[in-house]
């Protein structure tokens, strides 16, 4: 069973969000990293660029596939996790910690209400696992 921390919010496309006032930190979930398998490359949008909800904020390349990572909320990219350039495996090892992808400055606070809570996301993962 995938690890789903209780203090985070989630998207249907398997991103997590940690709310820190007007900013958020985001990454991909434990379930997502396990489905992707070994990640070999992470490419994140330029710091300072703006991104709309559900649009790609970066690309994650794993051994078996390349996947877009979507922005869970609209915002400005404040910081990208540059450590992933040399150690992309951190996303596999510690998806909620050192494997974070980007920090965003929220432009639409109300979008946070549309995210899933941990129980809602756990249901989604359960369904995916029994696909």
């Amino acid at each position: 069973m995938a690890n789903i921390p209780k203090d985070l919010k989630y998207t249907k496309t398997h991103e997590w969000v940690r709310v820190e006032g007007e900013n958020v930190t985001t990454g991909v979930t434990d379930f997502a990293q396990s489905e992707l398998s070994d990640i070999v490359y992470v490419d994140i949008n330029t710091v300072g660029s703006t991104v709309s909800r559900n649009e790609p904020i970066g690309t994650i390349e794993a051994v078996k596939a390349v996947a877009d990572m979507n922005a869970p909320v609209s915002g400005e990219v404040l910081e990208a996790n540059t450590a992933l350039q040399t150690e992309p495996a951190k996303v596999n090892q510690d998806p909620y910690g050192e494997g974070w992808i980007a920090r965003l400055k929220l432009t639409k606070q109300e979008e946070l209400d549309d995210l899933l809570d941990p129980a809602g996301y756990a249901d989604l993962v359960k369904k995916s696992e029994h696909h």
Partner: protein, 491 residues
């Protein structure tokens, strides 16, 4: 890890030679003096005798799995069997050694092969004109999309988007982006097909064309192709067909008749020319009258009984490859078509579809089948039902190698989790299909009884499971030279 075969560098011994040259009869020149800094010094080429080299490559080919050695369910998509007569034809001296700058008068035979191949392809796909230049399928896509862009430029229409279904080949959105269009994904319905109503909604007056892979990557023939083309045409858009899966319907269905405006044809897939080792491939593009003026130049024309290259094409997008495409590949495809004839091409497509469905029938219930529509040349299973044992599709693929079989494509298409995409192609006998089905069944049983055996697979291959993640993360394809040698090179 111990290597099953040493590299040529390790086998090298100073002074060994596989050649002998006559004595030097001009003054010797020191390259370091003549070329100064641009001289590369010692190139560290391995030194071996001829028999060492011959045995090295013979041993490697015996260690390797290939289509001449065993079952290879990657299919026409990657490599189907290449009849030896193709190789014989393209090695005929007059074809193998022909120079591309030869005067046209002296190259009539080569031009005739190109002309006839284009005519055959036009007939097979029901289109009006063909370019043989593109060097591969994705290059063909790019060529087609560039022609479509020029078509709308000429009409002074600003159409910037291209619709690409999520069941399309991954190269499609890439070609779209490289040609300066924006790719817009449209979702397949629950049968894995394009939904005409969804398409109708998505096709605005900003859309230049739709790119369809048919049969799609699930091996499913789009049942509404004609309707799809009609919807796009009614809005002034065009329809591009990714013809990579032409092997499923050669001689049965002609895309031009359904209304497609443009398609590429992978000679190295459908027409059995070699690839899968880096090529070269060949991706001719066929178009209807709307796009004919924009074809790359030159095209081969026939005047009476003479052949010539026509460069006088003012609306052409220009050349997309030097000279006349990958000519050796064209000769092989021409040979394949001539050897099979129209009936033979149809038989091949039917046998390819039959084999895929035979394997499907044998494995239904053993693996999940997420999309149950009729399969054409390939069938896509999911290994999700083995997840409860902690076994992934990758483990199944690795275990197949222990059975002496090549693994099918895995983890593609992306819309199927734990995908196993199986394409036996037309050449496989019932015995080889049975052997594959049996191996897959025994692996599925093993997943329940001894999952560790799968996770540790392969065990009988020359090398065990490779660290694919590390290979991608720390890509290094250079043979490490010795310390001395490196210093010498840099000096």
């Amino acid at each position: 890890m111990s290597q099953p075969e040493k590299s040529l560098f390790e086998l090298s011994s100073p002074g060994r030679r596989a050649w002998s040259l006559p004595a030097l009869d001009v003054p010797e020149v020191d390259p370091k003096q003549t070329f100064k800094d641009s001289a590369r010094g010692d190139n560290h080429l391995p030194e071996l005798s001829e028999v060492d080299i011959a045995r090295h490559f013979a041993r490697l080919s015996a260690l390797n799995h290939h289509v001449d050695k065993g079952f290879y369910p990657l299919g026409s998509c990657t490599m189907k069997y290449n009849p030896k007569v193709n190789e014989k034809a393209c090695r005929i001296q007059g074809l193998a050694d022909i120079h591309p700058m030869l005067p046209r008068k002296a190259a009539q035979g080569a031009l005739r092969i190109m002309y006839e191949l284009a005519e055959f392809l036009k007939e097979i796909v029901g289109m009006d004109a063909v370019t043989l230049q593109p060097a591969a399928g994705a290059h063909g896509e790019l060529t087609g999309i560039m022609m479509i862009r020029k078509y709308f430029e000429k009409r002074r229409e600003d159409r910037l988007e291209v619709l690409v279904p999520d069941s399309a080949h991954g190269t499609n959105p890439a070609s779209v982006t490289v040609s300066g269009f924006k790719s817009v994904q449209i979702k397949s319905n629950d049968k894995g097909e394009i939904d005409p109503a969804e398409l109708d909604r998505a096709c605005t007056d900003c859309v230049a064309c739709l790119m369809v892979t048919n049969p799609n990557t699930l091996g499913i023939f789009e049942p509404e192709v004609k309707k799809i083309c009609d919807i796009m045409h009614a809005k002034g858009s065009l329809v591009y067909l990714d013809g990579a899966n032409l092997n499923a319907y050669t001689g049965i269905h002609r895309p031009g008749d359904a209304g497609f405006d443009c398609m590429h044809i992978n000679l190295h897939k459908t027409f059995s020319t070699p690839h899968g080792g880096g090529g070269p491939g060949s991706g001719p593009v066929a178009v209807n009258r709307k796009l004919e003026p924009f074809l790359p130049r030159p095209v081969v024309r026939k005047d009476g009984d003479r052949y010539r290259l026509d460069f006088n094409r003012p609306d052409s997008i220009g050349r997309v490859l030097a000279f006349n495409g990958n000519f050796g590949v064209l000769v092989r495809a021409w040979t394949y078509i001539r050897m099979l004839g129209a009936d033979g091409l149809r038989d091949a497509a039917e046998a390819a579809v039959l084999n895929a469905n035979y394997v499907r029938a044998g494995l239904e219930g053993v693996f999940d089948l997420p999309y149950k529509e009729r399969s054409l040349h390939e069938v896509v299973f999911s290994g999700s039902n083995l997840k409860k044992y902690g076994v992934k599709t990758l483990d199944v693929a690795k275990r197949l190698l222990d059975h002496g079989l090549h693994a099918p494509t895995v983890y593609f298409p992306l819309i199927v989790p734990e995908a196993l995409m199986i394409e036996p192609t037309e050449t496989e006998s019932i015995e080889s299909c049975d052997a594959f089905v049996q191996a897959m069944k025994s692996i599925a049983e093993e997943a329940a009884t001894d999952p560790d055996a799968l996770r540790a697979a392969p065990r009988k291959t020359p090398v065990r499971r490779l660290d694919e993640a590390r290979a991608s993360r720390e890509l290094d394809v250079r043979y490490p030279l010795t310390e001395d040698a490196v210093g010498d090179t840099e000096a």
